[in-house]
């Protein structure tokens, strides 16, 4: 039986008009990676914010190593070894890597900050995690993946016992994900308990022992990942049996309505042809930074393309500025960060 590190019992939390969490229980063992899944709005992030002291629960108890604790502030969470890495990274872009790792509590000699000590300590933490980043680099000059590594290093520097990773792989490439998983396994060996929030089911299988499912703020269940079939997991998440994961809709696909050709912008966008037919939904897939949004921004006129030929209903059109009606604003807003 694994040693229990962290337990939450009967957690409820309401916001004006919404019951975000109702009687949710959750636990993490030493050296475990515990998957937390659920649809958007199921309450995963709220639960994690309660766990790390950003929010205070209306009801419920929290135990760390079987001792009841009150986590009523982020600082208290840090003190107790609970750290969260938010989906939207929380780094100070103007400051150096070392400054970010020790943000709010730099090593001091008397009242003076010891930069030398801070950089040495930061380097030690990065080295232990197998991350190769210069501690003097200003954070905004790092790639998203590197910034995430800095976040993890920052969390580790608090002597974390429990680390929450909120969709850490959303912006990473395969290779970067592999590196992240290596770091996670490294931490596992050190006995750090981790909560892993992700929408990517195949990732859960790679690193999680147990999975907890939330739906509409309610606790649905905790299972060993090995004992679950994908269908069972999906059923728990959506709350009904899905006959078909990709249901077929009857649709009539008509003629080409919109066509964009030769979209070029610097070396970011390089698309030969893109067509949408009537009744069709065109998906554009790719990692963050691969140019998905940039393509749409060009078509929309938000960025100036070096070259682009647009055809709407067979007639060539020109777009100079973003303009409602051409394509709706929320196309650009609703992209995942």
């Amino acid at each position: 039986m694994a040693e229990e590190l962290f337990r939450m019992e009967g957690i409820s939390k309401s916001f004006p008009g919404v019951k975000a969490l109702q009687n949710v229980s959750f636990s993490v063992n030493k050296g475990e990676v515990h998957g937390l899944v659920g649809e958007n709005g199921a309450g995963k992030s709220t639960l994690m914010k309660v766990m790390s002291g950003v929010y205070r629960a209306d009801e419920g108890k929290i135990f760390i190593e079987n001792q009841e604790v009150k986590i009523d502030s982020v600082a208290k969470g840090h003190q107790l070894g609970v750290n969260i890495i938010f989906q939207e990274l929380n780094l100070a872009p103007h400051l150096s890597v070392a400054d970010n790792i020790f943000i709010g509590r730099p090593p001091k000699k008397g009242p003076i900050i010891s930069d030398r000590q801070m950089h040495a300590d930061a380097k030690k933490i990065l080295d232990e995690l197998g991350i190769n980043i210069n501690t003097h680099t200003v954070v905004r000059n790092l790639s998203v993946a590197q910034q995430q590594m800095v976040e993890i290093a920052k969390a580790i520097s608090y002597n974390s016992k429990i680390l929450v990773l909120d969709e850490p792989t959303a912006a990473l490439s395969e290779k970067e994900i592999a590196q992240l998983f290596e770091i996670i396994r490294n931490l596992q060996k050190k006995g750090v308990g981790m909560v892993y929030i992700s929408h990517r089911m195949e990732e859960l299988g790679q690193i999680c022992e147990r999975v907890t499912v939330l739906r509409d703020g309610q606790y649905i269940g905790t299972r060993n990942y090995k004992d679950l079939t994908m269908d069972e997991l999906v059923n728990m998440i959506v709350g009904r049996t899905l006959e078909d994961k990709y249901p077929k809709y009857q649709r009539t696909i008509g003629d080409v309505v919109f066509k964009a050709e030769n979209i070029r912008r610097k070396n970011i966008v390089n698309v030969d042809k893109l067509e949408v037919r009537a009744g069709e939904i065109l998906g554009i897939a790719g990692l963050m930074g691969s140019g998905r949004s940039e393509i749409v921004r060009c078509i929309f006129g938000a960025d100036k393309a070096d070259s682009m030929e647009l055809t709407m209903n067979g007639k060539p059109i020109k777009v100079r500025n973003p303009r409602p009606g051409h394509c709706p604003w929320h196309w650009l807003r609703h992209r995942r960060p």
Binding site: L91, H94, S96, I103, P106, I113, N132, H136, T137, Q146
Partner: protein, 336 residues
Amino acid sequence: MNQSAETKPQNNLLSKLGPSAKKAMLSGTGLILLFVAFCFIVPGGKFFSKDNLINITQQVVTYSIIGFGLTFCLICGGTDLSAGSSLALSGIVIVSLLSWGVPLPIGIIICLIIGILMGILNGFSIEVLGVVPFIATLGTQWVFRGLANVAVDGKPLYTTSIPSQAVQDQFYMLGGGRLSFGLPYSVIIMLVYGAILFFVLAKTRVGRQIYACGSNLEAAKLSGINATRTRMFAYCVSGFSAAICGILVTSRINSAQPMAGQGSEMEAIAASVLGGVSNTGGEGSIGNTIIGALIMGVLRNGLNLSGVNSYWQNVVIGIILVAACALEAYRHKKLT
């Protein structure tokens, strides 16, 4: 993984230089160019003479001391438009106190405390009442200016109203006194004060927290930094600086003018920005401010001596400010 940011060796001095230091190098180059240019432009070698250089330093004192306070506010992501009015109000406070017979050291201490209180008032409106810094300090700008005028009914308060001649002389020495070779005391006060603030900003915890708040407020809060207290501190530094400046200016001109320092907060913001302090927060240092203040001082003085009238001076300085920022924006765009 992306290796681009890791190629520099850890011990390369250049790689250790922060963005503020790099900007300071750029602005410093601009300053040297300006300086050399004026040495040639101004006829008769009047620019590069001992008297004129001392004259410039005296002008620079005002820009930099107000600028120090604004640097704190700008770095933490705020601004302080009330600094000029605080300056005037502090001047009136100190002269009134002295004319009531309060001893000079106590008068100075009370005046500085009032400066801090003005900072607290700004911080309170911003942090507690939730008014954005621009509006909050615009409001207090009028409040402080109004109070200064009310206190003296819009008329200047001369130091001759101080009963003791000895105190009058001592008070004049603060801003008007000079060392044997002509260097004003106020320059030394500015340098010492600047050194202290440099140290606070660069090497203490609260300094680092000011950068963090300006760079990413949310991250700062989530890292357990007390953002309210940190930013409150920045506004207090600004009020305190304005009070110091008020004392020095009043002392130099022998009178407290209710309209003193009008627009000086804007010139100080311009100086900070010219020196390389980011006006959106997170970047800058006291060194940047001093360089910026020197640029402003050299510009004003050089243009004056070149026979450019003060209306055209404003046109030139305005263009230089915008052009410098445009250059920086261009440099930034090219980097990213």
